[in-house]
């Protein structure tokens, strides 16, 4: 929260901090009547409520409160005999006065400017893009700025057909279930067959899983097979129920 919004409830003033400073400058509230301690207490209470210290806001507060304290102390100090201060109350008053007068000048100018603004608000100006003709180069004024080779290259790129996608890194998946189905399909067509005749065209992985499926069917008592020699042909035979 900016320090300007700090809410104050003092003896002689209630409202945000920035308003307090404004009314002090406009001498609607006398700095001498103002208990600055109350302002500090309010700020500290605010800090406690918020639970965190924003350094920038705190600094701003310190600067402002210090300026007020300095002005006030100068107003209150008795006379020129004070060695502590270079400014006597009269000079302090002059300084404060100078600042008030300066502020008043801009406050009054602001009132007039706001009035001028008000009186001019009815005039509206056009805001439209320039016609297309003005946004592009005139043919007569055009000089070569682009390289035709860029077009040839771009078209050459477009003519290239993409290479066949290399899928060698993708491992085919072979499911046991599907191989079981394939075996049962084959056995549905005839009661016995040569393994190589039926599955010889499949890849090695598929063939291996099919053998595995064959074992499963053997376990269930659906098939039996024969192989007369090592690496010889495998004859698969369906076991008919009953």
């Amino acid at each position: 929260m900016p320090v300007a919004d700090l809410d104050l409830d003092l003896d002689i003033f209630a409202g945000p901090f920035d308003l307090l400073i404004a009314v002090v400058l406009r001498e609607e509230v006398s700095l001498l009547d103002l208990q600055l301690g109350e302002v500090v207490v309010a700020y500290v209470e605010h800090l406690e409520r918020e639970g965190e210290l924003e350094l920038e806001v705190a600094t701003e507060f310190l600067v402002l409160i210090a300026a007020l304290l300095e002005l006030k102390s100068r107003l209150m100090l008795p006379g020129p005999e004070t060695e502590l201060d270079e400014l006597g109350p009269e000079e302090a008053v002059e300084e404060l006065l100078a600042r008030m007068l300066e502020y008043r000048r801009y406050r009054d100018a602001a009132a007039e400017l706001a009035e001028t603004f008000e009186s001019q608000r009815g005039y509206l100006y056009r805001s439209a893009p320039l016609p297309a003709g003005l946004r592009r180069v005139a043919v007569d004024a055009a000089v070569a700025v682009y390289d035709p080779d860029q077009l040839g290259t771009a078209l050459g790129d477009l003519l290239l057909e993409p290479a066949d996608v290399d899928v060698s890194h993708i491992r085919p998946t072979v499911s046991l279930e599907r191989r079981l189905r394939a075996l049962r399909d084959a056995l549905g067509r005839r009661t016995n067959f040569d393994f190589d005749d039926e599955f010889g065209n499949e890849d090695r992985l598929t063939q291996a899983v099919t053998v595995f499926a064959l074992l499963e069917l053997y376990r269930k008592g659906e098939v039996t097979w024969e192989q007369s020699e090592c690496f010889g042909p495998i004859q698969v035979r369906k076991i008919l129920p009953g």
Binding site: L130, L134, V145, Y146, P148, G152, L155, L159
Partner: protein, 190 residues
């Protein structure tokens, strides 16, 4: 000049887009008939050759425009021609139009494998390509402009370079078109 005509003139002056009679009527709280009368008054006052601004009836309504006679002066005062480097999308789109012209918008998209709306629009705004009609199916057809040839320093379209990086170069326009479409389709569905 009536109050309504003055207000209508002000509205047309402020609006960057043409304004329909119905919208003018709503804004001025007048009837469309009254607005049309006011427009007639303005049409006389702002006829070509009378002032620096002319009243135009364009699709969708009425608009004020500067008199074409002032174009030269306007160019000297305001023209900010832009010729920034072409992006890849713009270069591809422009090369398709240049080599295959006339070519339709869907064809450009098929060859590039992506819709090319914004590239087409930018190239048209910069005056490098222009619409040269509509296809049988209503699609806009584009060709390159005279400005295109100037900005690329080409004496004519036959001076376009052979599509480099490609061997063999297609023999004729029809083969070029077919091969571009084939390559584009392969890109679109791998």
């Amino acid at each position: 000049m009536s109050d309504l005509a003055r207000t209508v003139e002000a509205l047309l002056f402020l609006s960057p887009q043409p304004v329909a009679v119905a919208d003018l009527a709503e804004a001025t709280e007048a009837t469309e008939g009254q607005v049309s009368e006011a427009i007639e008054l303005l049409r006389e006052d702002l006829a070509e050759g009378r002032r620096g601004v002319v009243l135009r009836e364009v699709s969708g309504g009425f608009a004020l425009a500067s008199d074409p006679a002032s174009e030269e002066a306007a160019r000297r005062l305001l023209a900010k021609p832009r010729t920034p480097p072409l992006t890849q999308a713009q270069a591809e789109t422009l090369s398709i139009v240049a080599y295959l012209q006339p070519v339709s918008r869907p064809e450009i998209a098929r060859i590039r494998g992506v819709t090319s709306e914004s590239a087409v629009q930018t190239l048209a705004e910069r005056g490098l390509i222009e619409e040269s009609g509509r296809s049988r199916f209503g699609a806009a057809i584009f060709k390159t402009s005279e400005l295109f040839e100037r900005l690329f320093g080409l004496a004519g379209l036959d001076q376009l370079p052979d599509p480099s990086r490609f061997d063999p170069s297609p023999e004729d326009a029809r083969e070029l078109r077919e091969r571009l479409l084939k390559a584009g389709e392969q890109r679109a569905e791998p």
